[in-house]
Each structure stands twice: as structure tokens, then as C-alpha cells.
Amino acid sequence: MAQKVNAGTEVPHGAGHKKVFPPLDQQFYASQLIWLAITFVALYMLLSRLVLPRISEVIDERSARIRRDLDEAERLKSETDKALKSYEQALADARAQAGATVKETRAQLTAENERAKSSAETQLAAKVAEAEARIVATKSKAMASVSDIATETAGAVVNKLLGTMPSVDEIKKALAS
């Protein structure tokens, strides 16, 4: 086995024993340098003139777009903040106004109530006073009627007892004594 391997490796070396290690073969240096120069310059030209501007254009466009979108978002956000602030302001205003209205209405209603109550009271007091006056009048009138009835009754009693009808003045004098 070892012999076979040795034979295999020996043959190419033996065949070209004048051959140099190809990566260091000087006879091809000129050709490689010339073709490297041609292809490298061609690649440089193609990349710098044709390819790289296109790539950088796309990348720049994207970053410009992103920046623009971010600016727009920032602007919209500040607008939203402003709107939110003004909404909150309006809400606070409305709340304060509603509170004021409630207070005012309550005061108004209380005053009205008070007024109605006091007027009703005076009206009632007047009615009470009137009724009392009427009672007093009725009472005095009734008292007067009592003396008349007493005179009449006394006259009738005297007439029945004595058979004579005394005069009203006499009866009244007798009753008052």
C-alpha cells in the first residue's frame, strides 16, 4: 500500500523535475500583474461609477425617508399633545362653569323658596289674625245677644210672676245690678 502511494506522488514530481512551485513561478508574474491591473481597474471603475452610486442612493433615500417619517411623527405627536392639552383645558373650563351654574341655581332656588315660604307665612298670619278678629266680633255679638235674651227672658218671667210687663229699661237696670 505504501509503495503504491509513493509511486502516485512520485510521478508528477519526477516528470517535471525542473518545474517550480506554481504559486511562485516567475514566468507568469508579468501576465498575472497585467491581467490583475486590467481586471482590478475595470472593477474599480464599474463599482465606483455604476454600482456604488446606485447602492448609496437607495440607502440615502431610505435614511432620508426614515428621518422624514420620524419628523412627521414628532410633529403629529406634538400636535396631539396640544390637542389633548386644549381638550383638558376645555374640560376643566366646562367643569368649572357647570359648578358655578349649579351653585348659582341652588342659591336662586333657595332664595325663591325662602321668599315663597315667608310670603306664605305672612299670608297665613294675616288669615289667622282675621279669623281671630272674626271670633272676637262673633263673641262680643253673642255676648250682646245674651243680655238681650236675658232681658227678654226676665221680662217674660216677671210677666208670668207679676202679670205686669216691666219696661226694658227697668229690667236692664235690675240685671246690671
Binding site: 504559486p23 511562485l24 501576465s31 497585467i34 481586471t39 472593477l43 463599482l47 465606483s48
Partner: protein, 248 residues
């Protein structure tokens, strides 16, 4: 056992002579063209949607762009973006060459030292030219670190100069050696499979071991292919940063 070095052989597909130099179109040249066509074709195809919300391919192209741009910004700052096309080209070229080289039967452009040396020298010269263009003689401050006592300054400067000039060597050899070694390892382990299958007796049943190893090494080589492109590009960024800010 197949020769693990055979994969690095160059052959002239078209003979060509330019100004007395052998400029033949070889299989290496062919794969350089393949690399360029693959990169440009892929990126153009991927980006054609130009969608605001990227498709998968488009986000892959953008990811490559952002990856290299991020590397430059991290090491050099926004100022370094003027080197972006060069660094992006370097990264994509090395990355695509490494990746395409992993396709069975394909040739790995970066497995030849002359190619990686040329790329490293390109970076080296760019650093020197950009350094002097931007800072004038102030670029030489690179070799005179701040806060070093005057009596050790000659020594420190000598070390700085040596390390500066050895950069292209380590820069190029790192990529070359990684590609070379990885591909040889893959071929050697793959050769073991054939060898064990062809052997007599119980050794045949050992065949799954190198097969598992080859699968694992292939995955590792994909990582290395990316990592070496990344390392090469990262070092390029660091060296170019010296050109922009020589005063450490």
C-alpha cells in the same frame, strides 16, 4: 494520490505578447474576469429592485456596502470615506476570488503570491501618496512617536521604519499563505479518501474519517475566505488611517 499542487498550475489559454512582456491570458486571468463579472453582475442584479424595503438580494448588496463603510468609519472616521471605492473594490475582489476559488475545479486567484503582493503594494503606495498629499512632510511624524525620550528616539524610529516597510510583506503573505495552505489541506485530505478506498483490507473502512475532515475543512475554508478578505481590508483601513493621522 492526486498531486495537491496541481490546482495552482497556470496555463496559457491565449498567447499574448505586450511590449516584450508575456501577457498571455491564463486560467488565472480568466478567473479574475469571472470575479469581476460575478461581483458587478451580482450587485447590479441585487440592487435593481431599488426598493425602500429591500428584498433579500438587495439587502445583501446593502449589507456589503454598509459592512465596508462601517469598517472605514470605525477606523478612519467620516474622512476616510474618500477611500471607500478603493477599499470596497479590494474587499469585494479578494472576497469573491477566495469564494469562487472554493468551487471544486475552480482556480483561486489569491493563491498566487504575485497577486496578493500587487494588492498589498497598491495599498502601500496609496498610503504613502495619500500621506504626503495630505500632511506634506508631516507624514514623517509617523516614524517619530510622541512622548518618546530623545535618547531612545533613533531606535524607536528605526523600528517604526522597519515595521512600516515590512507591512506590504506581511499584508500580502498572510492572504497568500492562508489560501495556499487551505487549498492544499483540502486536496490532501480529499486524496486520503481516494487512497483509502483504493487500499486493500480493513483500511477501506477508515475512509469516512478524511471525508468528515474534508467537510469540516471546507466549512472552515469558507470562514477563512471571508476572514482573510476582512483582515486584508481591515489592515488597509488601519494603514490608511496612518496616512490621514500620522501623529499616532
Amino acid at each position: 494520490m492526486p498531486d495537491p499542487i496541481h490546482q495552482f498550475d497556470l496555463e496559457r489559454l491565449f498567447q499574448l505578447n505586450l511590449f516584450g512582456y508575456d501577457a498571455s491570458f491564463t486560467n488565472s486571468s480568466l478567473y479574475m474576469v469571472v470575479v469581476v463579472v460575478a461581483i458587478v453582475g451580482f450587485l447590479l442584479y441585487a440592487i435593481q429592485t431599488r426598493s425602500l424595503v429591500p428584498t433579500r438580494l438587495q439587502s445583501l448588496a446593502e449589507m456589503a456596502y454598509e459592512f465596508v463603510a462601517g469598517m472605514i468609519r470605525d477606523s478612519m472616521g467620516e474622512e476616510g470615506m474618500k477611500f471607500f471605492p478603493l477599499i470596497f473594490t479590494l474587499f469585494m475582489f479578494i472576497f469573491a476570488a477566495n469564494m469562487i476559488g472554493l468551487i471544486p475545479g475552480a482556480f483561486t486567484v489569491t493563491s498566487h503570491v504575485i497577486v496578493t503582493a500587487a494588492l498589498a503594494l497598491l495599498v502601500f503606495l496609496t498610503v504613502i501618496i495619500a500621506g504626503f498629499a495630505k500632511n506634506g512632510l508631516g507624514f514623517l511624524k509617523l516614524f517619530v512617536p510622541d512622548g518618546v525620550p530623545i535618547y531612545v528616539l533613533p531606535l524607536v524610529s528605526a523600528i517604526e521604519v522597519i515595521s512600516f516597510f515590512s507591512r506590504p510583506i506581511s499584508h500580502s503573505l498572510r492572504l497568500f499563505a492562508n489560501m495556499l495552505a487551505g487549498h492544499i489541506t483540502l486536496k490532501v485530505f480529499a486524496g486520503f479518501i481516494v487512497m483509502l478506498l483504493g487500499s486493500a483490507g480493513a483500511a477501506k473502512f477508515l475512509m469516512p474519517l478524511p471525508l468528515i475532515a474534508v467537510v469540516g475543512i471546507t466549512a472552515l475554508e469558507f470562514l477563512v475566505a471571508f476572514l482573510q478578505a476582512y483582515v486584508f481590508t481591515m489592515l488597509t483601513c488601519m494603514y490608511l488611517n496612518d496616512a490621514l493621522h500620522p501623529g499616532h
